[in-house]
Amino acid sequence: MADTPQAALDERVKDISPIRKALIRPELGGIIGTVAVFTFFALLAGSSGMFNAQGIMNWTTVSAQFMIIAVGACLLMIAGEFDLSVGSMIGFAGMMVAIFGVTLGFPMWMAILITFAICLACGWLNGYIVVKTGLPSFIVTLATLFILRGFTIFIPQTVERKTIIGGIREAAEGDWLAPLFGAKILGGLFQWFGDIGLIAVFERGNRAGQPVVDGVPMLIVWAIVLIVFGHLLLTRTKFGNWIFAAGGDAQAARYVGVPVNQVKILMFMFTAFCATVFAVCQVMEFGSAGADRGLLKEFEAIIAVVIGGALLTGGYGSVIGAALGALIFGVVQQGLFFANVESSLFRVFLGVILLLAVILNTYIRRIITGER
């Protein structure tokens, strides 16, 4: 070995073209999938109204729902753990808002804050049990899935003798915190869009003259904020490096002083936070909480994350990729509806996309990380 510190090029290090370098990234599968899905629906459902203001708002809202829970699931998966209780947590959180805000008559802001506190505590407990017992998070959160769902059905049945509690919108009237989850913003801008003819306006009825899309729901704002936050946290901070390290090899990370257990517990709490945001936005929009809300959401979140290029065993992934995975999910689900395709085919389509994306992602990841 030469002692001179010169940058002599190793003949075995192949030069990589800039184009290839720009392409080879964890999000590539998600990017290709997004382009493919949009092309597909532009051809199949281009004339169905999928791409007018109302249509766009429709699939954007659905995608934003997936994005919110995908960001949490993504960071947790990169930290090396799963949370299967996300779906139950959504149902449970919505029910808590209803129980505290409607049944018990607390002010809505207090009901929302209590709900967040309870759900973050559940997330903490998930994480604490996983890191203390060393059990797979798959099993621990599977237990939480059943426990939370059970309570979500039991509590309203006991106190209200029903499994759907309404009246949330009325209870939230005039509250200072509720609009953060249920309001729409930029209403003026959309009114102006309607006035200048950029988007359609209602022609008859009591809303005549108003634009068909009257603002951006806070749900979408939350999705964007969480994606930006998650992406910056993961790629641009010290803590982000710890998330990668905790999932990549927990023991190696511990040897250099990374607080792996705290990182994992915090990520379980963040996942719970995302699920609660989703739940509160949903009950504000529907005006009611139902015991069956959020069913199977945990798998939809995991699918979005995996389509986005994350490795199921942790240590590798991208928040932007997960967001694209969620977008694909939302566009496919709503697009098939616009294209008048039998809705059961949604599952077939989803399965095919999942398989293709994972194969492509595995190939890309091997190039990047030198796995064999």
């Binding site: 901070t237 990668f244 796995e371």
Partner: protein, 258 residues
């Protein structure tokens, strides 16, 4: 010269198992101290005691002349004792620069928030790697694309960069090919010349002979003695490691190739 680490009569019991039964080793700055022993001799337990993973059942550890009791590896690292483990040195999925600064991330403050200083991390990583003779394609290259020897070298460079005074290497060459081994041995030589004490654990006498200044042989949890370079032949070391007689019978049938 005083030893930087002096470990006297270290014993470690795990329940009824006596893993170490009175091990004494002195490590001096700027020397490569080879710790030899067959599997089960207690090498790993001993270095884990030195690096703060295990607390000794009895015995004394002096670090720079003062008695030390490390509660955890973090304490030992802070004091300047760094350990490079054979297969747990690096995270293959992460980039070289992310690995290099893992647990010691540089931060810069933008608008009141603290961000990972990637520019600084990348620059330092490239410089350190070049100094160790590894040509990276870029600091964002994943560690998984490096060879085993290069990974050990990155881990050693990392420990040195973060101020290690004592560097413990746990069988760094045992899984490597000939060329990679010589690279790692050359790295050990460079580190020693910087005045850092190197504790080199191995069961390969030839690797030990190539860089070692002093040799301590462990057998069944005890020190069989410490020898200086030149005072002992590879054959004698080999015999001590294997406990003498058993190897003698082997040697007959294998023609002394072991």
């Amino acid at each position: 010269m005083d030893p930087i680490v002096r470990m006297t009569n270290i014993a470690k019991h795990f329940g009824s198992v006596i893993a170490l039964n009175g091990v004494s080793v002195d490590v001096f700055p700027g020397e490569c101290h080879c710790l030899l022993g067959d599997n089960g001799a207690g090498k790993s337990t001993f270095i884990k005691t030195m690096s703060g993973v295990h607390k000794p059942t009895s015995g004394e550890i002096l670090f720079e002349g003062t008695p030390m009791s490390f509660a955890n590896p973090r304490d030992a690292i802070a004091a300047g004792i760094a350990t490079v483990y054979q297969d747990l040195a690096m995270i293959p999925l992460m980039s070289v620069s992310r690995n290099f600064f893992m647990g010691n991330e540089p931060v810069k403050t933008i608008a009141g928030m603290r961000f990972f200083d990637h520019d600084y991390a990348n620059r330092v990583t490239m410089d350190e790697m070049r100094a160790m003779g590894i040509n990276l394609r870029g600091p964002d290259q994943a560690v998984g694309t490096l060879s085993g020897g290069e990974r050990q070298t990155v881990a050693i460079a990392r420990a040195v960069h973060f101020g290690a005074k004592v560097l413990i290497l746990d069988e760094p060459t045992s899984a490597l090919g000939v060329r990679q081994t010589s690279n790692v041995l050359a790295t050990i030589d460079k580190v020693r010349k910087k005045g850092i004490a190197v504790v080199f654990i191995t069961h390969n006498v030839r690797h030990a002979m190539a860089v070692g200044d002093r040799f301590t042989v462990l057998n069944r949890g005890q020190t069989l003695g410490t020898a200086l370079k030149g005072d002992i032949t590879p054959e004698e070391l080999q015999d001590m490691m294997a406990g003498g007689q058993e190897l003698a019978t082997l040697e007959g049938s294998l023609g002394g190739t072991v």
